[in-house]
């Protein structure tokens, strides 16, 4: 330990207590981010702790990686440096739950599993269901704007985060947004924090909009002879009055991963509302499927749990592929071909009515990933689509820009934001777009 490090350590211990400061080698090594071993792991118990730790980090110019469940640490560029891992999992209180107002305020380390259990008892839900969601923390979900099939109906964290308490890089505790479901007072700071990967502030407390659980829900699967037929089915759904909760595209490997049979392309649709309305809409969906040459078959409710688990574990490399709704089929086919050219098979899933696909496949050489990602980016660029590497070995993300190009004017504003709010590059340095 360097001479300088010793007093920092003393100061950290003075803030969080000796017990909440981890510096033994084994623990530090296992907390490494992309091979960078932190000098300390700090486990704050309060936002006050977070604030004081960051104030110290700011003055000492330490590099800090905040973490929640650790599910999305392989997102973004590898950090350019790392001194301190800020483990937020002890910030796990439900601060205020107002079932009558359909709002809840939680600390950022609260897991979705814990929140779901709490609000589920009142038949309410926070409709976010990305892969492995149960174990993920709300702070992590917000920082990465992670979403799953339910976004077809409820949108993403962007549409659910009402207010946020965060700690700026220099330790200043800040609040943005409101605790009520409707507010336009001041800038919509929560929007800025969603998906920012903690690079503008460490999320501490989130106020979220909840939804009532649907009274009744049913899910069906339509398996098609090719992606074009699946695309035609999705187009019919989009141009109809049906209000589905999920419209999930699956390719052959995706179907297999969810244990839902075999076929070149499939779409799983769920509808949740009054029972008679679910049935009536189900008939319409069945007709659309028939017209696209497929039979609709009912699936059990366990399908979505199987989907969440399968997608949590489904590949060393995961890409999110953003395309137009009208190009979902073609994009899926192109993605399959591009991944196949790298010698592996892609598992494809994704919200079809939003053009939001997800491709998972086993690890291949960084160069091969680069080739396929560039190919897909070139394919999608003309329609404004893109590819983000959601998960990959560090070597891949060191060789291939995980975010892809951002429009220069927008990027320069983003750089402006980072320069303004984290000039010393304390928070997640290097991980975000453009190496911010």
């Amino acid at each position: 330990m360097s001479i300088l490090a010793r007093p920092i350590q003393g100061a950290l211990a003075a803030i969080v207590g000796r017990e909440a400061l981890v510096d033994d080698t084994a623990a530090r090594v296992s907390a490494a981010v992309d091979g960078l071993v932190p000098r300390w792991i700090v486990r704050p118990r309060s936002l006050e702790h977070v604030s004081r730790v960051l104030a110290l980090a700011w003055d000492a110019e330490l590099a800090v990686v905040p973490r929640g469940g650790g599910n999305a640490l392989a997102l973004g560029h590898p950090p350019s440096r790392l001194d301190l891992v800020l483990d937020l999992r002890r910030l796990d209180r439900v601060v205020e739950y107002n079932p009558d107002d359909l709002t809840v305020t939680v600390e950022a380390g609260t897991t979705m599993g814990a929140l779901a259990a709490r609000v589920g008892a009142r038949r309410q839900l926070l409709p976010l269901d990305p892969a492995g969601v149960e174990r993920r923390t709300l702070g992590g979900l917000a920082a990465t704007d992670a979403s799953g099939p339910l976004r077809a109906r409820y949108g993403t964290m962007r549409d659910l985060l009402l207010g946020v308490r965060f700690v700026q890089a220099d330790g200043v505790m800040t609040w943005g947004g409101a605790k009520v479901v409707k507010s336009v007072s001041g800038y919509d700071v929560p929007k800025l924090m969603v998906g920012a990967l903690g690079t503008l502030g460490v999320l501490g407390e989130l106020t979220l909009r909840l939804h009532p659980e649907p009274e009744f829900e049913a899910t069906w699967l339509a398996v098609f002879t090719d992606v074009a037929a699946a695309q035609a089915f999705v187009a019919r759904l989009v141009d109809s009055t049906v209000q589905p909760s999920r419209v999930e595209f699956l390719n052959r490997a995706g179907l297999a991963a969810c244990g839902a049979g075999d076929g070149p392309a499939a779409v799983a649709v769920s509808i949740g509302t009054a029972e008679e309305a679910v049935r009536a809409q189900g008939e319409t969906v069945a007709r659309f499927a028939r017209e696209a040459g497929a039979w609709l078959r009912p699936l059990g409710a366990s399908f979505w749990a199987a989907h969440a688990e399968a997608t949590a574990l489904d590949g060393a490399i995961v890409l999110s592929v953003g395309t137009l709704v009208t190009l979902v089929g073609e994009t899926a086919a192109e993605t399959e071909r591009a991944v196949a050219a790298a010698g592996v098979a892609a598992t494809l899933t994704g919200a079809a009515t939003l053009g939001s696909l997800r491709a998972a496949f086993p690890a291949v050489e960084p160069r091969a990933v680069g080739t396929l990602v560039e190919r897909l980016r070139a394919f999608l660029a003309p329609v404004g689509g893109g590819v983000i590497i959601q998960r990959a070995p560090a070597a891949v993300r060191a060789a291939v820009d995980p975010w892809g190009p951002v429009e220069p004017g927008a990027l320069s504003l983003m750089r402006g934001l980072k320069d303004e709010f984290d000039a010393k590059r304390v928070l997640n340095p290097g991980r975000f777009v453009g190496g911010l």
Binding site: P7, I15, D100, G155, S185, D239, S240, A277, V383
Partner: protein, 481 residues
């Protein structure tokens, strides 16, 4: 501050002789928005027809540090599209083109001056609509809706404007054109679209908007339920939500408002009603029918005096008629009013209504209420006679007291109208110095020289000024540096 003749010449060169309003009487039209309290005419009004012209104007003004005020239709209720410091107003109402309608991708791109309702009109025959529906949608511009993040009666179910904006073209205060977001979801980088929505022209000018379009619902059902008291009606609202039903709209009128409406056009609300609830459900037919029945049952269980279900479009229009005429109807009670837009958590509606009555009594004013009950967004109309200055002062005091009461209940000072000049001074009720400082710095990223709509949205408080740093926690006494 009078503009130099050079600047006027330059503007004329950019826009041509028809593109400027420079005469005193011409400029007077632009001295306020619909919050007519606040007046400030610009030194000149520029009416560009393209993004390129907007860029040229902004660069010119930036070079001379001249304030710029964007304006859509001027229907704002906040002292937004007016020029307290003079300068150049940029009216966007010549940029009204629908650039693209792409129903298969559920999107449209429009120029900012397009009137909200025109977009829906362009797609409704094919079964689509643009969801944000401020009551001003026949006259307000989409650029204005985006800049104020407008709501409307149906945002309980559909969300406010921000939930429907996919992308923007923005000319920043630095005179740069940036394209944010777009038709494809899942973009890398900060959600600049999200923070630019609702920035009230302080970041720059919105010169194009890509919005989400929705498919028209299969069925609509409108129910009117009247209650003996606001408390009972509020309980019915809570019970509807607790039953897992999110109506498209859930509007409430209080006793004074009911009386005013009944005396006017005669919407025929029950005379002894202390509160009227207007509930609209839309969606797939089977869902709407099932939910309408449950809603009617809930209202009866909660002691409704009367429950009417519209059987067809003309009955539906009739039920809405009174609600839509509310603002006009109070004209019979007093010459004018202050309109408030604060929000409380829905469960505290009965409590805020009690507080409101106490405030009305204390300040000796009448307050009529019509509001978006489903999301707790109040629209109290504080009545006063503008010929009597003392009455105005009481109305203003009641207004401030009301804001404080809403904040004390965990609410917000504005649910949909925005901040503007009117509420900039009230922002510190809701935000601390660090929060305001964060917002002030955010603004500077987009508008480094602070020429965009100065004086609006943020208070001119030291917390927002140059060089101010909110208190940081002190590093504990330890050892080092």
């Amino acid at each position: 501050m009078p503009l130099g003749p050079g600047l006027l010449d330059e503007l004329r060169r950019i826009l041509g002789p028809d593109g400027l309003v420079a005469s005193a009487e011409g400029r007077l039209v632009y001295e306020c928005d619909m919050h007519t309290f606040y007046k400030g005419a610009p030194d000149v009004v520029a009416l560009p027809e393209s993004t390129a012209e907007v860029v040229a104007i902004v660069r010119l003004c930036r070079g001379e540090r001249v304030p710029i005020v964007p304006r859509g239709s001027g229907t704002g209720l906040i002292g937004g599209a007016m020029a307290p410091l003079g300068g150049v107003m940029i009216g966007l109402n010549r940029m009204t083109r629908i650039v693209e309608i792409d129903l298969a991708n559920r999107a449209a791109t429009v120029q900012p001056g397009l009137i909200n309702l025109w977009l829906t009109r362009a797609v409704q025959e094919r079964g689509w609509f643009f969801a944000p529906d401020p009551s001003s949608q026949m006259v307000s511009s989409i650029g204005g809706n985006v800049s104020t993040n407008a709501g409307g009666p149906h945002c309980l179910k559909y969300g406010i404007t921000a939930n429907h904006v996919l992308g923007l073209e923005l000319v920043t205060g630095a005179g740069e054109v940036v394209r944010l977001g777009g038709k494809v979801a899942d973009r890398a980088g900060y959600d600049l679209t999200g923070v630019a929505v609702g920035s009230e022209g302080t970041f720059g000018l919105v010169t194009a908007v890509t919005v989400r379009l929705l498919h028209t619902a299969e069925a609509v059902q409108t129910i009117l339920a009247s209650f003996g008291s606001i408390e009972e009606a509020s309980e019915a609202v809570s019970a509807i939500i607790a039953a897992g039903i999110i109506p498209a709209a859930l509007e409430m009128l209080d006793e004074l408002m009911i009386r005013a409406i009944n005396e006017g056009t005669g919407a025929g609300y029950p005379k002894d009603a202390g509160a009227v609830l207007l509930i609209e459900l839309d969606g797939p037919r089977a869902e709407v029918l099932a939910q309408a029945e449950r809603v009617a049952t809930i209202c009866r269980e909660r002691g409704a005096l009367d429950v009417r279900v519209a059987r067809d479009e003309s009955e539906r229009a009739l039920l809405w008629k009174g609600r839509k005429e509310a603002a006009g109807a109070v004209g019979r009670l007093a010459p004018t009013y202050l309109l408030q837009d604060c929000v409380v958590p829905r469960s505290r509606l009965p409590e805020i209504m009690r507080a409101l009555r106490a405030i009305a009594e204390r300040h000796r004013v009448q307050i009529a209420n019509v509001f978006h009950a489903g999301d707790g967004n109040l629209h109290p109309l504080i009545l006063y006679d503008d010929r009597n200055p003392e009455e105005l002062e009481r109305a203003k005091a009641a207004n401030e007291a009301l804001l404080h009461a809403c904040i004390a209940m965990g609410g917000t000072i504005t649910g949909e109208h925005g901040v503007g000049l009117d509420k900039a001074k009230n922002l510190p009720l809701q935000y601390g110095e660090a929060d305001l400082n964060f917002m002030a710095r955010l603004r500077r990223i987009f508008d480094p020289d602070r020429i965009m709509n100065p004086g609006k949205l943020l208070p001119s408080h030291p917390a927002c000024g140059e060089g101010f740093r909110p208190a940081r926690p002190r590093v504990p006494e330890g050892a080092w540096i």
